[in-house]
Structures are given as structure tokens and as C-alpha cells.
């Protein structure tokens, strides 16, 4: 069934639906019907994918976009709601995931949401002056006057009672880790409440993209999160290619798939090794870390960069890969599977390791849809979700992949799922190398104006990019990475666990700070 029919069934016949270029349906609605429409969608198992704002998109100054997906439909529904003024009503009581998005829109554009339960600033910390909204077109990017960071204190949720105490952690952590603040409320050793405060690394990437040509902006996409370089570059390029009607050569699509899966493999290997390190068993972690380094070297041989930076460009690839490197990769992956299998086999039967992994950090099914938990974290809690399959892009639509799920919801479940998915990724790469066609890896093209939504399954889950090109330049670039959603899930996953298990749970969910903070 088509999503269009489903919407007609829900909302009646007179719908103004515009088809987007990338399998998305835009439904224009007025401010006063948005609440009732979203409740209707909620009741019919739609899930909020992203909420964002753009300026000067319609005749009104601000337009809010609510993107939804529903299991079984490959199209994405985007509610497009022009605002009369600078206020809107909050949807956070229907979809709790809207909370962070709304705070983000308030920071970026100064739009107030009535009825929201959390009005604290999000990515603008105390050092930013009041009434500063960087995503407004009236603000020209550049240095701003800051105020002393001590001007006011961020109000964390206070948990009080006999024996309850707080543990503040971060932003600078013990180890080579990105910065973020965790505020634990603890009784004894058990975590009673966790509040995550992110955005210490906010670099203003969305604003920086504005005014760039699509070609220049690939660099911004790559810098969102270093270990999601290929995923974000492909997501951005796909959006631009759809807008301009560029047909990417098959060889480039095949090689992009190889890059995407290599990225997934090295990311997962880091998680598997990291989880084992976090239960103090470095000898068991070493095989994974050795394999991971080997993948970095394969990346370098293929693209000249260990993180595949600069490999993907609009219209295809920046350059072709050396034939020899591809052959070496194929041979390497045969031996790789064997090493991986034996390492995983040994570790997953190791008593003290299983003891720490099992029942730890459960991501409960009831938070999956409200918080839009995505990627391997969701799949390890039984949710059938994988953007490669739900909203296929590139060559995934011809691959007939199956979503893997596990039901145990805990760290062990995520460990096992990631190990299984690595083997699946190897198969995809081998298939691509085996069927690789010859020819060009890039086409020449003309940029057109327009807008498109692009979804990609990175190693961490669903990444969403929305690009609006005006007069050949980026007018608005909205990015929502998987980590943005999954960070909110960790606040629930740690409850009832002991504080020393937090690093383990964190590692098993593998969250990017840079990708959240932008």
C-alpha cells in the first residue's frame, strides 16, 4: 500500500500533498490543525523522525517541518506547517522525542513552544547571550560577544530524599573521550536518575553550511562525526543529487556501498573491543582492535584516508579506487571472517564477561517509539528497523537484506547483534566487489534549486539530512544523527544499574558526541 492512500484514509480526501524528489510526501497544514493531525498520526503508529525549522521557505517567515515514518512504508511523511508568528504549540507530550527538537528550534530561531514541559536552552550554553538565535537569516555568521559562563547555572533535575546524592561527571572525562556532562542521582551504587547534558562540542555546522555551494558542503557533512564520514557524505550527496536530478554511475554506487559497510565494520569492531575493555578484559579485546586497525588500513589503501574523508563527492566519487586495493580487500575479508568468528566465539563464552553483559543496560521496548531509538540499539531490543531496508537508497534496494533483531535488550544483545551484522556487511562488500562494473565514477552535472530529505543507516542508526538549495547555494542544511535520538535513550537504559556499569552501557550504545552537538 502507498503512504498516500494511508493518509487519505486518515485525513479524508482533500489533502494538498506535494511529492518530494526523494520519496517523501509534503503535506501542508495550518497551525491550528497540527496538534490534532499529529495525535491522529500517533494513534496510527507513525513515528516522529525529525522536527526542524526553516526561514523564508514559504510566504510566512518560519516553517516547521515534522517528518514521520511508519513501519511498512518506504515513504516519509513531512508535515509542513507555516507559522503566523514566533510561537507554536509543543508536541512533546505526544512524542517525547520532540522535546529536544523543540528546544533546538527555540535556540536556533527564537520560536517559543507553548505547553512544553522543558524550556531550558539546548545547544546554546550559558556563555551565549540571551536573545541570540544563530540560525536566523538576520544573523551573519561571525564572532559574537559572549558572557561569563558563570552568569547562571543550568538547572538539572533535582532528585531529593534520604540517601540520594548526585555524581556530576564531565564534560572532560577520564580517558580519550569526547566531552559531555552526565548528572547521576544515585542511591547507594544504583542509578536512580541520569540526566545527559550535551552540546559542549557545538560547532555551528548548520549555520556554517549556509551560503556554501553543495560541492563545498560535502566537507561539512564529513565533519559532523569523523567515524560517520562516509554515511553523512553519502546522505548529503544523495539529497543534492536528488534535487538536481543527477544520475550517479553504477560503479560509484557500488563503491559507496563498500565504503558505507567498511565504516560500519570498523565502528562495530571498536564497540565490541570497547565493551570488553570496559569489563577489564583487554586480552579479549585485542583481536577486535587488531582487526579494526586492519580495516583502517584497507580504507587508506582504497581512498587515501583512514576515515575515507574526501572519497565521496556530489555526482559519485572524487576518484576511482585502485584495482589492486579492491582485490586485496576481498582476500583480506576472507581471513577476517575467520579471525572475527574465533574472537567472538571465545569472548561470548567467557564467564565473567557474560556475567557483566547480561541483563545490563536494558533498552526497554516501550521507549523505542516515543524516543525514536534507532540502529543496532533498537534492533537489539527487538525493533525491526533498518534504514537500508525501510527506506532503501543506493543499491540497497536490490539487495534483499533482512533486518536482524535480538530480543534481550541488554548489553549482551547489542554485542551479539553487532558481531552478526559485521558478517552481513562482509557479504555485502564481497557481493559488490564481485559484481563491480567498470566505467566512470562521477558524472558532470548542473545544480538545480530545490529541497530533499535523505536518510542513511550509519553504523549508529538512522541519520537524516534535509537540504534546501536556493540560487545554487545551501539555504538550510538540517542534520539529525542517530546519536541525537539514542542519547535520550541512555537516560532510561541506565536506570537501576550500578554506576560502574555506565561506561559499559555507554560503549554498547556507541553514541557520537560530535554528531549530536553539530
Amino acid at each position: 500500500m502507498k503512504l498516500n492512500d494511508e493518509l487519505t484514509k486518515l485525513f479524508g480526501k482533500q489533502l494538498e500533498i506535494t511529492e518530494g524528489v526523494n520519496n517523501e510526501l509534503y503535506l501542508a497544514i495550518s497551525e491550528n490543525e497540527v496538534h490534532s493531525k499529529i495525535i491522529r498520526l500517533y494513534e496510527n503508529n507513525f513515528e516522529l523522525v525529525v522536527l526542524f525549522c526553516a526561514e523564508n521557505f514559504t510566504a510566512q517567515v518560519f516553517t516547521l517541518f515534522y517528518a514521520f515514518e511508519k513501519a511498512g512504508f518506504s515513504e516519509i511523511l513531512v508535515l509542513q506547517c507555516p507559522l503566523e508568528g514566533k510561537s507554536a504549540s509543543s508536541m512533546a507530550t505526544i512524542f517525547p522525542s520532540a522535546c529536544w527538537y523543540e528546544r533546538e528550534v527555540t535556540d536556533g530561531f527564537g520560536i517559543e513552544f507553548s505547553g512544553s514541559f522543558d524550556k531550558r536552552r539546548l545547544f546554546l550554553h550559558e556563555t551565549y547571550p540571551a536573545d541570540f538565535h544563530p540560525l536566523l537569516k538576520s544573523f551573519k555568521n561571525g564572532k559574537i560577544e559572549t558572557r561569563p559562563a558563570t552568569a547562571e547555572e543550568y538547572p538539572f533535575k533535582i532528585v531529593e530524599g534520604e540517601g540520594v546524592y548526585q555524581i556530576p561527571v564531565g564534560p572532560v572525562h577520564a580517558g580519550i573521550i569526547e566531552p559531555g556532562h552526565f548528572r547521576f542521582s544515585v542511591i547507594g551504587e544504583t542509578i536512580f536518575n541520569l540526566e545527559v547534558r550535551m552540546f559542549y562540542k557545538h560547532r555551528g555546522l548548520e549555520k556554517l553550511a549556509e551560503g556554501m555551494t553543495p560541492m563545498e558542503c560535502v566537507k561539512i557533512a564529513e565533519t559532523i562525526s569523523g567515524d560517520e564520514t562516509a554515511a553523512n557524505a553519502v546522505a548529503f550527496c544523495r539529497a543534492v543529487e536528488k534535487i538536481s536530478g543527477i544520475k550517479v554511475p553504477r560503479r560509484a554506487l557500488q563503491l559507496r556501498t563498500v565504503f558505507l559497510e567498511l565504516e560500519r565494520i570498523y565502528s562495530y569492531l571498536g564497540d565490541l573491543g570497547g565493551m570488553i575493555v570496559d569489563v577489564a578484559y583487554p586480552a579479549g579485546a585485542s583481536p577486535f582492535l587488531i582487526l579494526r586497525e586492519e580495516i583502517f588500513r584497507q580504507n587508506e589503501a582504497l581512498t587515501g584516508s583512514r576515515f575515507m574523508k574526501g572519497a565521496v563527492s556530489v555526482g559519485g566519487l572524487s576518484r576511482d579506487v585502485p584495482e589492486q586495493a579492491l582485490r586485496n580487500l576481498s582476500t583480506f575479508l576472507v581471513a577476517f571472517s575467520k579471525h572475527l568468528g574465533s574472537a567472538e566465539g571465545i569472548d561470548s563464552t567467557f564467564f565473567s564477561l557474560v556475567d557483566r553483559f547480561e541483563t545490563t543496560g536494558k533498552v526497554k521496548p516501550e521507549i523505542l517509539i516515543p524516543l525514536h531509538v534507532t540502529g543496532p540499539v533498537a534492533r537489539a531490543s527487538g525493533k525491526t528497523t533498518d534504514t537500508r531496508i525501510d527506506h532503501p537508497y543506493g543499491l540497497y534496494r536490490e539487495m534483499n537484506l533482512k533486518v536482524r533483531t535480538l530480543q534481550n535488550e541488554d548489553v549482551l544483545s547489542r554485542f551479539s547483534l553487532k558481531a552478526e551484522e559485521i558478517l552481513e556487511s562482509i557479504k555485502i562488500i564481497q557481493y559488490m566487489i564481485g559484481s563491480l562494473v567498470s566505467g566512470e565514477v562521477a558524472v558532470t552535472y548542473q545544480f538545480k534549486d530545490g529541497y530533499a530529505l535523505s536518510l542513511v543507516e550509519s553504523a549508529r542508526g538512522q541519520n537524516v539530512h534535509w537540504v534546501n538549495v536556493k540560487n545554487g547555494l545551501i539555504d538550510r542544511y538540517k542534520v539529525r544523527t542517530a546519536s541525537f535520538c539514542n542519547w535520550q535513550a541512555i537516560e532510561h537504559a541506565v536506570l537501576g544499574n550500578i554506576v560502574p556499569d555506565f561506561p559499559l552501557i555507554n560503549k554498547s550504545m556507541n553514541l557520537s558526541y560530535a554528531g549530536t552537538d553539530l
Partner: protein, 174 residues
């Protein structure tokens, strides 16, 4: 299971990995000599991410992984700035991190050195001109050495640390 229990009695051997990189080993051995001389046998590094894209952190972590294993050369990444000789700064300094970054530096005992690692920290990144960043590491600290790259490879970082010890030796700071 029986095999696993019996393996306790097996003779333990260290596996010989085939990934030895002669150039890296040579740099490492040189560095070890310098660390012995300049830093009294151990060089303690505190890593500070002030706004990177996380690839530089990954390469720093890789330095401690089996292929590189820099602890052999007297280098340790320490948890507290109070234990550190060198602060490695990655990424441009964001406004949101500026205070925490400064506090981290201030917590280090003297004498202390700052190394900027990666293009953003060195001032060659794409973030210049963003409202959200103060600028490169220079804006907040006296940077003793810059290691460029997006990100620099583990080998580049090790070579940079060798250059740092040589610079310190020349300036007779320690």
C-alpha cells in the same frame, strides 16, 4: 568447557603478530630515548577534546591499541590533568567548551606543554568563521607544537611527540 578449564595449565606464549612497521618502531625507539632523557622516563599525556569531529580521538586511542602500543615507549594517556606533562588538544575550541578547557589546563602542574593535534586544533580546519568557536587551540593556550592532518595518522602523532621532546631539549626548558 573442559578444554577451557584445561587451558589454564597450557604453556603461555606471546603471539607474534605479522604487522611490525619498521619505520614506526624506529620512531618509537628514538622517542623512548628522548622520553628517558627529557621527561625522566615517562611522558604522561592528557587528551582534551575541545570540539573535534572525533576522528582525532580515534587515532589517539589507536596509539594504545596492539598495532602501536605506545606504552612500550614510555607514553601513557592519563585520566587526570594533575598527572599530565602534556596536554593534547583536538578540535577547534568551542564556546561551550572554553571554560572547561581552560580549567583542564590550569589543573596541570608546571612545567606543562600543549600540543595541538589535527587541522581544526591547528587552525587550518573549516570551522574558522563560525559563531560557535573561539578559534584554534592557540586562542586559549600557548601551543608548543602543532601536528596537522585531518586527522593525522598514529605515526604522524608519534613523530610529532618526538619533535616535541627535541624542541624541549633545544630550549633547555627541562
Amino acid at each position: 568447557m573442559a578444554k577451557r578449564l584445561l587451558s589454564v595449565f597450557e604453556r603461555k606464549t606471546t603471539e607474534n603478530f605479522p604487522f611490525r612497521d619498521e619505520e614506526f618502531e624506529a620512531v618509537g625507539i628514538n622517542l623512548k630515548k628522548e622520553v628517558d632523557r627529557v621527561f625522566g622516563r615517562s611522558l604522561a599525556i592528557r587528551e582534551l577534546d575541545s570540539g573535534s569531529d572525533n576522528s582525532t580521538e580515534i587515532e589517539l586511542v589507536n596509539l594504545t591499541a596492539p598495532h602501536y602500543d605506545v606504552e612500550r615507549f614510555g607514553i601513557t594517556f592519563v585520566a587526570s590533568p594533575r598527572h599530565a606533562d602534556v596536554l593534547i588538544v583536538t578540535g577547534a575550541v568551542t564556546l561551550n567548551m572554553a571554560t572547561a578547557a581552560k580549567k583542564t589546563y590550569d589543573a596541570m602542574p608546571n612545567p606543562k606543554f600543549v600540543v595541538a593535534v589535527g587541522d581544526d586544533a591547528c587552525g587550518f580546519g573549516i570551522l574558522n568563521g563560525s559563531y560557535a568557536v573561539l578559534g584554534c587551540a592557540d586562542k586559549l593556550f600557548d601551543v608548543d607544537l602543532k601536528i596537522t592532518g585531518n586527522p593525522p595518522s598514529p605515526k604522524d602523532i608519534l613523530k610529532g611527540l618526538l619533535a616535541l621532546t627535541e624542541k624541549i631539549k633545544k630550549q633547555k626548558i627541562l
